[in-house]
Symmetry: C2
Subunit: 210 residues, 2 copies
DNA sequence: ATTATCTTGTTGCATCTGCAACAAGAATAC
DNA sequence: GTATTCTTGTTGCAGATGCAACAAGATAAT
């Protein structure tokens, strides 16, 4: 976006550690962090993926949010405590960049370039996080499954500059993302297909026709 | 939150203008900004309120987001262009702080304190924006109107440290915020009342009983 | 003071959607 | 190579929800 910070290069070039920034590795199903203790912690996924999980008041466990490479997360983004237990679970072997929000205010002793780059680069990551959240809100705000799907497909299609595209999510995950029942989604998908709005080749390859 | 930047004091003390930061006033129904031209513009509501509006593909106009005092907005938060025309409309007499994202990189000529404070303070505003968005996503993700309402009430109640609270929104606006049909919401409200989950005195005063 | 507008409140109805339950194919683990 | 898990696909059904339409009270505008 606006400046040329690139988290990928950044993490690749990370040789000499900054004392305020850690990189930790997690095995599948390990807890990366809980959202009770680490109020000011910010994390960035370097490799792998993780789920933010909640035990809600009925005791069911659900996925609140999914984090993939270069996503930013942390309790600092969840100021309002809904009394739910939130924690982040590694979905696979995962590498996480961990630091505290105070890196904005306090320079590290070495005054390292690494630290400085992160401070400059983080805003962009947060901005793109906001964008993602806004996008999801747009989708969740649509009242029907049909509208959710059509809007989602349009966006993916525009992103790929192509009417035909492979979904970046499994259909199961897509239903979760749109917060709709999977079977109801499959039904609507079938209707959209039969009405000629979309074509569905393979499993997750879709062509917008309208 | 983490540092003691306070946008309220900040804007009150704004006497000598920074060349990179503007304050503009708008009358009711004036267009504050469009989301086509001003890609890197960031705005903060100082007084009044405004709506982010969209003309969607069916031609209907709808409110995408509502901004109140000290809310941050701008096209920069909407990276993915859905080909919709987005613009921000003043709902009343409104005062807006306007600047460009590049204030992060480029200091102004005067090197003024004002500029510096904003750069330090903006991250907090954005973080609380992210919090708000996450909260809304949590609500929108609930599958039933009942769950949306109960979760919303719990949050407001916890925020106010009180089982009894006055809704910060009109019921009409609440339905919009939760993206549900108002009449269906009224129906559910009545059910919740009759089942003893809530008490509803006045119009917008609610007591959680469960 | 009198409109005009906005908000709350209600109902009937059609249909959309979640849920449960199941089956088959694909991918992964051991 | 076989078992296990995950994903896609399908259906019936009951209940939830959106929509349309209306009425009355509250606010705001002139």
């Amino acid at each position: 976006m606006k400046n040329n910070f690139n988290i990928k290069n950044f993490s690749n070039n990370l040789i000499s550690y900054c004392e305020k920034i850690q990189i930790k590795s997690f095995e599948k199903n390990e807890i990366i962090t809980t959202y009770i203790v680490n109020r000011n912690q910010i994390c960035i996924v370097l490799e792998g993926s993780a789920d933010l999980m909640r035990y809600d008041f009925n005791g069911n466990q659900m996925i609140v949010e999914r984090f993939h490479q270069f996503d930013v997360f942390g309790e600092i983004f969840y100021q309002i405590n809904t009394n739910n237990e939130l924690f982040v679970l590694a979905k696979e072997k995962t590498k996480i960049l961990i630091f505290n929000y105070d890196i904005f205010e306090k320079k590290c002793k070495k005054n390292c370039k690494f630290h400085e780059e992160l401070v400059l680069g983080l805003p962009n990551l947060v901005l793109s996080k906001v964008s993602d959240l806004n996008l999801r809100i747009e989708l969740l705000s649509k009242k029907t499954i049909r509208d959710k799907l059509i809007t989602y497909f349009k966006i993916i299609s525009e992103k790929n500059f192509n009417k035909t595209f492979t979904l970046p999510l499994s259909l199961t995950d897509l239903a979760d993302y749109l917060s709709i029942d999977r079977s109801a989604m499959m039904r609507e998908l079938k209707t959209l297909k039969s009405e000629g709005f979309i074509k569905k080749s393979d499993k997750n390859k879709i062509t917008l026709l309208s």
